[in-house]
């Protein structure tokens, strides 16, 4: 067993690190869904925008300034998107809001396409994170090891925030019952903005980690990680933060095992790798059919 892990350590390391990055994105999806019942399709693109901002800022500013600036601006971006694209539609049918999310996603991607001229941008090397290290015979980057730790720390902080602060309590109340909490005097708009900002800043952290590993940003860079993070959120039971995190780690690890399938299981050339993305969805569908509310999701009751 230990031998097996040792031999395939690099796959697991990649899996855990990418899983952690998906987890940070997935939290944004799951929190927004919990409160607004909205699949925020633009979230993956917010993540991509954070990556692009870093590329542009770091070319002229030192990391000590550019990293906080990216976090701050991404937070602002999340806030603006919510105010401009979702708030006006609060009383519209849910489909309209979802379409608006698709529209924002389209807009962000096309804006990125225009401003980058359609070329991949090389992500800067953040000195500490990009260093190569050797652990147990596998070579990897510091960021690979930092990611899971940072993810867990951030999730714990977030849970504390939701459990023990006033705004956290408000969030829980809103996600439980939108209308009643409004009647109880909770400022819905403030809570929603806060949710979007939290989600966005986590996405910005994820982009720092993700692009340090996979150092190229294109307008569509956010699409796949976004979709996978979303699947992770559904898998874990949408609305549940621990569920999303666990789902993300499972997806990250499985994905890398499939890519390495030929080597891990010694079955060469059956086109395993074709399914590295599709697998995520197959997995999702099975979960949905067996347990429609996901691992930790709450049962919902139809009201007539």
């Amino acid at each position: 067993m230990a031998d097996f892990f040792h031999q395939n350590l690099s796959y697991f390391l990649s899996g855990i690190s990418v899983g952690g990055q998906y987890a940070l994105i997935a939290i944004g999806y799951t929190m927004v869904y919990g409160i607004l019942r909205l699949i925020n399709f633009a979230h993956g693109d917010v993540f991509m925008c954070a990556g692009l901002m870093m590329v542009y800022f770091s070319s002229s500013l030192p990391f000590a300034i550019s990293i906080p600036a990216v976090l701050l601006l991404t937070l602002l971006l999340g806030f603006v998107i919510e105010r401009v694209a979702y708030k006006p539609l609060r009383s519209a049918p849910r489909m309209s809001v979802m379409i608006s999310a698709i529209g924002v996603s389209y807009l962000l991607q096309n804006a990125a396409l225009y401003f980058t001229g359609g070329l991949a941008k090389v992500y800067p090397e953040i000195p500490f994170l990009s260093r190569s290290v050797q652990i147990w015979g596998a070579t990897t980057r510091v960021v690979t090891l930092v990611t899971p730790v940072l993810t867990v720390v951030l999730v714990v902080l977030l849970t504390l925030l939701i459990k023990h602060t006033k705004i956290g309590m408000a969030m829980r109340a809103v996600s439980r019952d939108f209308e009643t909490s409004q009647l109880m005097g909770i400022k819905i708009n403030r809570v929603i903005s806060m949710t979007f900002m939290l989600g966005s800043i986590l996405a910005a952290v994820a982009s720092l980690l993700y692009f340090t590993n996979y150092a190229s940003v294109t307008p569509t860079s956010g699409a796949m990680p976004g979709l996978k993070a979303f699947v992770a959120a559904v898998f874990g039971g949408i609305g549940s933060i621990p569920g999303a995190v666990i789902g993300a780690f499972i997806i990250g690890i499985c994905e890398n095992i499939i890519k390495g399938g030929a080597s891990i299981f010694g079955i060469p050339g059956s086109g395993w790798t074709t399914f590295s993305d599709a697998f995520t969805f197959a997995f999702l569908i099975i979960v949905l059919i067996v347990r429609p509310t996901g691992l930790f999701g709450e049962k919902s009751v139809d009201k007539v």
Binding site: Q7, N8, S10, Y11, S14, V18, L113, G117, G118, L119, A120, V122, S130, S132, T139, T140, R141, N213, Y214, A215, S216, T218, T220, S221, A223, M224, E255, N256, K259, G260, A262, S263, P268, G269, G271, T273, T274, S276, D277
Partner: protein
Amino acid sequence: MRKTVLSLVIAIVACAMVFAGGSSESDSTVVKIGVFEPASGDNGAGGKQETLGIQYANSLTPTVMIGDTEYTVELVLADNESSNDRAASAAATLVNAGASVVLGSYGSGVSIAGSDTFRVAGVPAIGITCTNPQVTEGNSHYFRICYLDPFQGTVLANYAYNELGARKVYCLAKLGDDYSGGLVNYFVEQFTSLGGEVVSETFPDGNSDFTSYIANAKNSGCEVFFSPVSTEAAQLIINQSDSQGLGMPILAGDTWDSNVILQAALGKNADITVTTFYPEGADPEFDAAFKEWVNADSTRLANNGGDDTISAVTAMGYDAYYFALQAIQNAGSTDPADIMDALWTTEIDGVTGHIALDDVNGDAIRNTVYVKHANTTTGGWDALPAVVVD
């Protein structure tokens, strides 16, 4: 009320644009050359460099003599976005703009996908660096001025087997990409016939995590990493192979002959060898003049990848332009059908060598492959001996 406003606005905009769209008056002494190249997507960087070569040539020779009349050459650019499904509509744009002949594209897939649009419209197209045989095979309207993948793949396989002494090679292609898939296929054919062994894998569109593929190459005991993929994926592969300690030479085809690769490899632990159409320095006069032209304008410099390295595709684009002009001159007309007939027998001496086409598919008759090695300390290419096949 809102809806009425909306429909009114739409109607006005529609009318305005129909007139705007229809106002392309055709001048009688203008000949239009379509440039069918990607400016965005996977192959955007290469497409832009190829386009630069064409634009540079056009800036030097903006007119062509047809009979006794001097015609102005107008370049019509359409971005095929490196995507096979956008290729048909970009091709239709060029055809509709009245292009007499089309140049491009960088990337074999988009060339094949756009091909039928040109066929139906009867417009000849000249492939510049699309190396997949299927581009020109079985049709009479697509021509090509570069060598083909069966040739390049064989050369690369021989190189891996003989020069690098490899017996087991890891091949990585992009799923659904005609260029990398085709080249890997011919490489594998030749390499196995030499007695070598290959491990062949593909990665899906939009993938940016290559660490597991790199681990696969290491774990399966391969000695060379062959990945003739787009420059976009190449950046990631180089970067991740460095951090994962790949520890074997990387071999690639003509797409990797780009300063994108040089920039990615600079200061990294990477041993990269590529085959290409033109080595910088082969024609010092062309090199110097082109560098001056590129440095004179910041947009050009940006399109060339930020520095003035000359990519082989730029030189090929330059040659393709003159090849097209020669064909137009030989045809003595701007009619696409006449140019198509004339192309079969057109010959020129370009900076990348003598260009003449065979009479089967209209492919260039070429027998030289240049080999380059990336220098990770200077960030330039070191030329290795060229391979000439008789």
